[in-house]
Amino acid sequence: MHSHEAHTQNFYFIVQLILVFPFIISFISYFVGVVLSNQHKKQWPYFRTLFWILGHVCAMLSLIGPLAELAHINFSAHMVGHLLLGMLAPLLIALSAPITLFLRAIPVKMARFISCILRNSYFRFVSNPIIASILNVGGLWLLYTTPLFNMMHENSVLYILIHFHIFLAGYLFTISFIYIDPTPHQLSFVFRSIVLLVALTAHSILSKYIYAYPPSQVSAEQAEQGAMIMYYGGDLIEIALVFILFYQWFKRTRNTVFAKAIT
């Protein structure tokens, strides 16, 4: 019996390692990129590096260690993990401008090639705010309103895939609304605002839906707590996202003010 528990523990640990491994690689790569970029170009801003570090801390906290362990049995802990991995980490990582750094760190010829790839129709499609929202919030609806939530905790492969999906969809969602890195296919502020409003609405509704109809094997009390964490915690991060979107509008429209002043 004891050895069986130890075996399960080991197994959980391996799953966590698989999830954390890409984050460790990307964490280190950024610093290599900063060193390479600083050799030829002006100093890479410190605050961007700070965002990168904070973003990775958030992601890793949710994937490995006490919070990740607790998330298996406690729905509130699961929800905190969801906010960290799917919302806060993607926002912080988007603010650290990794693609800009990458393009700066590599030789110009290669950078041209890479930016060509980033401009292709696949990236154009998935980085459309509507598609990104469906992948992100739609994925959450699927997770919490179908048996998928239970299956995730029984099947490790599913567990790994869903967690990668939550992070990647969260990142895609963030960069489809706020443009920190070079964005080839920019869409209007009004369009992005409306889609963001709908996506945030869907997130709020899902929170209350979970409160009213707990996912299977989650007790009513835990679902209520978790739902409120999702509702109010989500608000905080969404407010930051909306603030940045409008701030970018404010900065972008500055020229129109001066143009009017001259005429």
């Binding site: 605002s193 963001l196 409003l197 945030l200 609405t201 869907a202 997130h203 709020s204 509704i205 209350k208 839906y209 409160y211 009213a212 209520e224 739902a227 409120m228 509702y231 608000d235 969404e238 407010i239 909306v242 603030f243 409008f246 701030y247 509008w249 404010f250 429209t253 500055r254 003010v257 009017k260």
Partner: protein, 159 residues
Amino acid sequence: MGISNMYEEKNHKHENRFQYGQRNMWTGILFGFGVVAFIDEAIFHQLLHWHHFYDKSTANIGLVSDGLFHAFSFFATIGSSFLLADLHRKHGFWLKRWLGGIFLGAGAFQLYDGIIQHKFMKLHQIRYNVDIVPYDIVWNVLAAILIIIGIVLLFKTNQ
């Protein structure tokens, strides 16, 4: 001399206000929306605990409406703050018209919340285990007063 200079300075800051009349109004309306939603959340949900996060009698449409207005409230607050900064940047701010918008937006949201969301969609009631009628009357009459003040201010500043 000092006074007339100040007057000119002040006028200069708002020289374009007639040009941006509509925008002042909408900026106010959005801000009014956000303010009321914030007061509702802070006072009635968090401090007094009168409102409930979820009421078992809530219709599904109530969940949709709540989600939309919840997201829209902080969207409107942040958006209208930037619109306000933009009006100042363009020397187009008009205090009275902006205030008119705030009253109208606040009243409209309050009335929507009081009649459609509380009564028709049964999202939640103002307070539980009490006679609800006086609460509903105060709530909705207050909303009507806000709307009237808003309309009067907007009419006075209508150019």
